[in-house]
């Protein structure tokens, strides 16, 4: 369940959970430079410190009281991530972006089910986060590659998203919002959640969907596009040459028992009228032809 139009905006007030680690320090600064209000950080045992001028608390509830945080960005290591996410839910966060990778699927199921039942948006785990150029960014997407524009990008990938966003920017287009939903088997937000938002969002005129082998999320997205999305969609699917039965880096990127192949996804998307790029670098050209 997602309420806000593009999830993050000028009202977004971020608490960074795990702010004292290397990633937390680096990206809290990068988020602020992008224009995001980072109001607090947490790190158990380090309350009272400051990172990049941001106050560090022991718990999320203090970040709410002191900094009116409404969004969390989680960097804490996998063994402690479930606790951190449930803490964020309990403290009333509206949006939670989980950057942490290698979260046990059991923990993801737990966190996501509670969040969805409460109407809280969870993006991730194992994702780069979300960026709306000119508004805000919550996550680790590199700021330099973005330009404000009308293309909405939704992707299971991290660096491949950067590659494609960068190509879009270099070709003269820009992005309304870019969401990396993550490549794990269980994610808080799926393609359909974001497609629904892009379809409603006035700034978004064109949509780019970046999928990969494994699961059936792309096929489900294709069915949704066919019936509900009027804006034009360009897609790229990674893993056409991946062998069955091997986990290709992401926990979810595996062709299991003949299901989750790139062919099946490409066929479903093309059947729904989506232009599917053969090379990631073809995406801007297809956008231009729309």
């Amino acid at each position: 369940m997602i309420r806000m139009a593009v999830i993050v905006d000028a009202k977004t007030r971020v608490v960074v959970q795990g702010i004292t680690g290397y990633q937390g320090q680096f990206h809290s600064q990068a988020m602020m430079e992008f224009g995001t209000q980072v109001v607090a950080g947490t790190s158990p045992g380090k309350g009272g410190q400051e990172v990049n001028g941001i106050p560090v608390f022991e718990t999320v509830i203090e970040a709410v009281k002191e900094g009116r945080a409404n969004t969390s960005c989680i960097f804490v290591p996998a063994p402690f991530c479930k606790d951190a996410a449930l803490e964020a839910i309990d403290a009333g966060m509206k949006t939670i972006v989980i950057i942490t990778e290698r979260l046990p699927v059991n923990d993801a199921i737990h966190v996501v089910s509670v969040a969805r039942a409460k109407g809280i948006t969870v993006i991730g785990p194992n994702c780069p986060g979300i960026a709306s150029p000119g508004k805000a960014k919550v996550g680790i997407l590199p700021s330099k590659i973005f330009k404000q524009g009308d293309v909405g990008v939704v992707s299971k990938s991290g660096t491949l998203t950067y590659e494609i966003v960068n190509a879009i920017t270099e070709s003269g287009h820009g992005q309304s919002t870019c969401v990396g939903i993550g490549g794990d088997r269980v994610s808080g937000t799926d393609f359909i959640d974001i497609l629904e938002l892009f379809e409603r969002d006035k700034q978004t005129k064109k949509i780019v969907l970046v999928g990969e082998i494994g699961g059936t999320a792309e096929e489900e997205a294709a069915a949704y596009i066919e019936s509900k999305v009027k804006k034009p969609v360009v897609a790229y699917i990674a893993g056409r040459t991946a062998p069955p039965g091997k986990r290709m880096g992401h926990a979810g990127a595996i062709i299991a028992r003949g299901r989750g192949t790139a062919e099946s996804k490409i066929m479903a998307l093309e059947g729904a009228g989506v232009q599917v790029a053969k090379l990631p670098t073809d995406v801007p050209r297809l956008l231009g032809e729309l």
Partner: protein, 367 residues
């Protein structure tokens, strides 16, 4: 991480699910006695071992020794059986299927049950399989077990036992972090007991930090893949001759696909992931060289992984081990200029875009 049948059965037993009496040997002379008519089963992490001759009956010790001698060392579809499980033979009245897996779309565990066990569940018609998603907020409840028991069409006395096994299987999946736990067949014996005839369990490898007891188990990996696992590098061996190193799973896959578009074929998928440690990059390069590709394609889109970090690691690896393998390097993103400067004299073939790099590597691989 997949568990061998005998390990999987030990886990079932721990959770109170009945399995046949049995023991494991690594050599036939370890067999001293058997408990009556038995089956000798090759321990391999691949299906279809029965058809391949990996399961043999034995009525006495001599036959069991003979069967184990034939099975240990047997190559079953590329996997060598190092162990044999000697198990008391079950008097089968009926074979059922019971399994639990992850339902990605519904974001929960999924219990699957079928009265048609003993064959690959993929070949069972859909209307003969009960799929029961377990909403984590509801949890596994007695009404769900009753649905399974009714669907299976068992007599009353066995229904109660089936309900118990369902509950225990769900508990097992949650407590052991199993992403797959399959009992196929779940045998109904002639004397009316329910016993796990075979078992497949896969433990979520991301959850191994809280299951140290599984760490030492072997997996279906090549020696280099196992080494990569130790280094925490995503590494998959393929049948082409271009070694691809990139950062991020999606980008690495897209690089493989792009090579294919230009007629080349990847031999290694190596995802550096997000790292800022030159030592890890160095180890990854050395691992790649061990895989002996004809060409290496390095495709970095710097972010968390900074380009100069990669360059440093690559240079260190080249210093450690001289090699004539051509390297096509495409480097972009954070600190790319620094990295290009560092690698300028390293004799690499530079490429500016992903497609250009893929084309160049493909051409080199066909020389």
């Amino acid at each position: 991480m997949k568990l061998f049948e005998y390990r999987a059965k030990a886990v079932l037993m721990k959770h109170g699910i009945p399995v046949p009496e049995g023991f494991v040997v690594t050599s036939s002379d370890q067999i001293r006695r058997i408990a009556g008519p038995s089956m000798v089963k090759a321990q391999v992490l691949i299906g279809g071992r029965g058809k391949a001759g990996g399961i043999k009956p034995a009525d006495n010790v001599e036959e069991a020794k003979k069967a184990a001698a034939a099975i240990i060392g047997m190559n079953i579809r590329g996997f060598i059986a190092k162990e044999a499980l000697i198990e008391r033979k079950l008097e089968v009245a009926k074979e059922l299927y019971l399994g639990i897996t992850i339902d990605r779309s519904r974001r929960c565990f999924l219990l699957m049950a079928s009265p048609d066990g003993g064959i690959d569940i993929e070949s069972v018609p859909e209307d003969r399989i009960l799929m029961l998603p377990i909403d984590p907020l509801i949890g596994f409840q007695p009404f769900m077990s009753r649905r399974v028991a009714t669907f299976m069409g068992l007599p009353k006395e066995q229904q109660a036992e089936l309900v118990r096994i369902c509950e225990r299987l769900v508990q097992l999946a949650i407590h052991e972090d199993a992403e797959l736990a399959e009992i196929n067949p779940l045998v109904v014996t002639k004397d009316g007991r329910l016993v796990a005839g075979d078992a497949k369990i896969t433990i979520d490898s991301d959850a191994l930090f809280r299951h140290p007891e599984f760490e030492k188990f072997e997996e279906d990996m090549t020696p280099l893949e196992a080494k990569a696992r130790q280094l925490d590098i995503a590494f998959v061996q393929l049948d082409g001759n271009i070694g691809v190193i990139a950062n991020g799973a999606g980008l690495t896959m897209a690089t493989l696909d792009s090579i294919n578009m230009f007629g080349g074929k990847a031999g290694v998928f190596l995802d550096l992931g997000g790292t800022d440690d030159p030592e890890k990059v160095k180890q990854a390069m050395l691992l790649m060289k061990e895989a002996n590709p004809k060409v290496i394609l390095l495709n970095i889109f710097g972010g968390i992984t900074k380009c100069d970090t990669v360059a440093k690691g690559v240079l260190e690896a080249m210093d450690t081990e001289k090699s004539t393998t051509p390297i096509v390097a495409r480097i972009k993103g954070v600190n790319a200029e620094i990295a290009r400067e560092m690698l300028k004299n390293a004799g690499m073939l530079p490429a500016s875009g992903l497609s250009e790099a893929a084309e160049l590597a493909s051409k080199e691989s066909m020389r």
